[in-house]
């Protein structure tokens, strides 16, 4: 039997403590590895299948699109295509590819790869394919030369250059060789076939994804030799890691975190307006809120100032389109709290005495959304309406949105545009073809549908502006939403990160290859 006296015990404990606290980190000389802390995982590496901001970040750095999006306000920039032209009727786009572009295996990117990639994307009809639904089909994109691609649209689509940054080109020979029976989905789920500045290194699902800079990278810019996307679920941990310099970017920060790192040495706060909207959608297809006068009563009863005060760094929206985006109508007044008007509209509705209960949901863990629910509760009291507040996880929210009968009366939702065009917000959040989806569960108005369709097909800028102006007027008149707020995008970075430029479209999916550290 092992015996252990007090002295031996203490010596052993001291030894273990010393062993645990004495290591020196290996030198990282010569390595410029950027670390990004995020709460979001990357479950799928297929650029024609995966959605979500984390996969999009991966694709922007391991693949290339024809056209990129940069700067603020966002503008198109050359990607694989060094130049492009557009026919006067907006139906034909011609792209000339960059001869220096090559895939990770060293083979050049050709027009055939682009043709293959778009055909695959549209054939699978997953991932970003919805952005060009009805605009392109499998035969729309053709290689008309070794390095020339021609895109023939089924109808004009003004935001085409805005959606192309999310459509990535794969190595056709590699994917075709690993096609299997599912068009290469099983292969690309966990493998890369890109031309991006980085290739995949270590992969630890749920923990980290390491990208390694390719040798002889044709992208010019930045000094990064690698990037690590680190999943950090606890906000305080991410903040401490940023403080200690263990991460260079901490995404997914809340207002409290930004306050805590204010004036912290070595840390730069990024708090910029972007196009991520928050609205409270009303169930216009089922229940009391089918009554437009009741919706207007609620819209005039709501305490918008309270909502803004509870939001932290944000601004109120008056229009369904984000402030500052092309087509936004700055003269749109929207609704303001006006109790006499609220009561006036209640009296016109079928529920003039109130006396019933409505339901509202918010996302579990989002304190701001919970506060907004409480503001709604208080606002409805003047109308003698009660409110049942429900905290829901994302899976339950998505499931709940699938039918008017299951949807709550007030549906709280953030919406981040995938591309820098009002069509994204308008189409996703207000077109009836999106009913049953989480972005637009129930709202349907044929006039709004036509305005959206006409606007996306219109290539004349002035006419598009007029169409979106009318769109905003009709949606506001419908009182389909409590049009809420634009929160500032909040994240932080170390001050040794250089050449970072904020873009208001998907800012948390930044391209890192132009960046440097040190």
């Amino acid at each position: 039997m092992l015996t252990l006296n007090k002295r031996q015990f203490l010596i052993g404990a001291a030894g273990m403590t010393a062993a645990a606290t004495l290591p020196r980190l290996a030198s990282s000389a010569g390595k410029n590895i950027m670390v990004i802390a995020s709460t979001v995982d990357i479950p799928n590496f297929d650029p024609h299948v995966a959605t979500g901001y984390a996969p999009q970040w991966l694709f922007r750095n391991t693949y290339d699109p024809l056209v990129r999006v940069v700067n603020n306000p966002p503008v198109p920039a050359p990607g694989l295509a060094k130049s492009w032209t557009q026919s006067p009727d907006g139906l034909v786009y011609t792209f000339e590819l960059d001869e220096t572009a090559k895939f990770h295996d060293g083979t050049p990117v050709t027009a055939k790869d682009v043709e293959y990639s778009f055909a695959r994307l549209l054939r699978l009809a997953k991932g970003p394919a919805w952005m060009v639904s009805g605009i392109l089909d499998e035969n729309s994109v053709k290689a008309t030369g070794e390095m020339t691609v021609t895109m023939t649209l089924k109808k004009p689509f003004a935001p085409l250059l805005s959606v192309l940054p999310w459509m990535f080109v794969v190595n056709s020979k590699l994917v075709e060789a690993n096609k299997g029976t599912d068009d290469g989905q099983a292969y690309l789920l966990a493998n890369m076939a890109g031309s991006g500045a980085f290739k995949m290194g270590r992969v630890k699902p749920g923990d980290l994804y390491e990208l390694v800079r390719i040798e002889d990278d044709w992208h010019k810019g930045g000094n990064l030799t690698g990037v690590i996307w680190k999943i950090v679920r606890e906000a305080s941990t991410a903040r401490l890691m940023l403080q200690r310099g263990q991460v260079h970017f901490a995404l997914d920060m809340f207002a409290e975190d930004m306050e805590a790192i204010k004036d912290m040495p070595g840390v730069v706060r990024i708090m910029e307006p972007d196009y991520r909207t928050f609205t409270i959608k009303m169930n216009t297809a089922h229940g009391p809120l089918m009554d437009k006068n009741l919706r207007k009563a609620v819209s005039y009863a709501f305490n918008y100032k309270g909502m803004l005060d509870a939001a932290g760094p944000a601004q109120l929206m008056k229009s369904p389109l984000p402030v500052g985006i092309f087509g936004f109508d700055p003269d749109q007044k929207g609704y303001e709290q006006d109790i006499p008007k609220a009561k006036e509209y209640l009296a016109k509705s079928a529920y003039k005495d109130g006396g019933f209960k409505l339901s509202m949901h918010h996302a579990v863990g989002y304190e701001n959304q919970r506060r907004w629910c409480l503001i709604m509760l208080e606002s409805l009291k003047v109308l003698n309406i009660d409110l049942d507040i429900r905290a829901m996880t994302w899976p339950d929210t998505v499931a709940m949105a699938r039918s008017p009968e299951t949807m709550v009366d007030f549906y709280s939702i953030f919406q981040s545009p995938n591309y820098a065009d009002p069509d994204n917000t308008a189409f996703a959040a207000y077109h009836s073809s999106r009913n049953g989806q989480w972005q637009n569960p129930v709202y349907k108005n044929p006039e709004v549908d036509k305005l959206i369709e006409d606007a996306r097909a219109e290539v004349d800028t002035a006419k598009r502006v007029e169409l979106y102006k009318k769109f905003q007027e009709v949606v506001v008149e419908d009182a389909a939403d409590i049009i809420g707020i634009l929160e500032l995008r909040k994240f932080a970075m170390r001050d040794n990160v250089r050449d970072y430029v904020f873009s208001s479209v998907a800012p948390n999916t930044m391209e890192v290859w132009p960046l440097s550290i040190g």
Partner: protein, 335 residues
């Protein structure tokens, strides 16, 4: 003895069968749409239906369960809807991290708890007894995640002597995979630097996990030892002139260990199932995090898989504990 072990192993099967049935039913009757979620926010109803068919989730429930059971036996524990990987592969990825954390926590709790329990029993109502009693109360009462945050603040943020999170520095590659336990793999490779690094990362989460079992083991050991010290045979041994050291470690310890052994065995499953909060605070990529992600995305196969793994480990642990009774108490023998 061998027959006893075999019998206990065979009895695992009906327990696991009942567990899978219960979990399967609960997972299927819960509201939500994991396939719709995995398909993405822009998926069409046709796409979701196709995915549902690919995953076999459009079949009748009894058929789904039968397919699952036969798959279990053949090593196919289903696919994770979220990661699109086999559940077995995911569990093999995450399990070593949790095993390492649990083992380290238990080691701390046992190595410190048992001797302290002995000492405080021998020096009952002394200064050490009062101090450890207070620490024990705090250890049991304090939530692990809160303790974890405190440890991070103290040792990582303020003193900067231990890492903040993770199993290994982000920009370095861990030791070559043998067991998946970085400390053990480093020792196997003879890489002392890697062992130090892995141990330094393990320290804070292991301490956060260890405090509660340490407190319980210490108090249980103390109580058992006090009881045994009052037995007649101990008095006889003292009368015979045996040294206190010999009495304590050869006779008292063995007899006092049985109830503590039970507590240690129970804590294995408690630790296994309770790592999620500490893993979240310390970014420890273990089974707890994997299970949490699965629950939040209503990914049922991983939830069932993780529960089965914990159940198997728990049942085997209790078998080992039962066998160890025989080591400490010769009167206990299994036929």
């Amino acid at each position: 003895m061998l027959l006893y072990i075999l019998r206990r192993l065979i009895l695992l099967l009906p327990v696991l069968f009942g567990l899978t049935l219960l979990l399967f039913i609960v997972a299927r009757i819960l509201p939500g749409d994991p396939v719709g979620l995995a398909a993405g926010p822009n998926a069409t109803p046709e796409l979701i239906a196709q995915m549902r068919s690919e995953l076999g989730m459009d079949l009748p429930l009894p058929v789904q369960y039968w397919n699952y059971l036969t798959g279990l036996v053949s090593g196919d524990w289903g696919m994770s809807v979220f990661t699109r990987r086999p559940v077995v592969a995911d569990i093999m990825e995450y399990l070593p991290a949790t095993i390492e954390l649990v083992f380290a926590s238990l080691l701390i709790a046992v190595v410190i708890g048992i001797p302290l329990g002995l000492l405080t029993a021998v020096h009952k109502n002394g200064a050490l007894d009062y101090i450890t009693r207070t620490v024990a109360l705090g250890g049991i009462a304090m939530p692990r995640f809160f303790l974890g945050l405190l440890l991070q603040m103290a040792f990582a943020a303020w003193l900067d002597i231990l890492p903040l999170s993770g199993r290994y520095p982000l920009i370095e590659s861990p030791p070559d995979h043998v067991t998946g336990l970085y400390t053990l793999d480093a020792l196997i490779a003879g890489d002392w630097y890697a062992f130090q690094v892995a141990l330094s990362h393990l320290a804070l989460p292991a301490i956060a996990m260890a405090l509660s079992p340490l407190a319980t083991i210490m108090r249980m050991m103390r109580a058992s030892t006090i009881e045994v010290l009052q037995q007649d045979y101990v008095m006889t041994e003292r009368a015979l002139g045996l040294s206190n050291h010999l009495i304590l470690f050869k006779y008292v310890l063995k007899n006092a260990m049985t109830s503590t052994l039970t507590v240690i065995g129970l804590y294995v499953s408690w630790l296994l199932g309770g790592t999620v909060l500490v893993e979240t605070v310390f970014d420890w990529p273990g089974l707890g995090l994997y299970a949490t992600q699965a629950i939040l995305t209503q990914d049922f196969m991983p939830v069932i898989g993780v529960t089965l793994v914990i159940a198997i480990i728990y049942l085997i642990t209790m078998l080992i504990v039962d066998l160890l009774y025989g080591v400490f108490n010769p009167k206990v023998r299994y036929a």
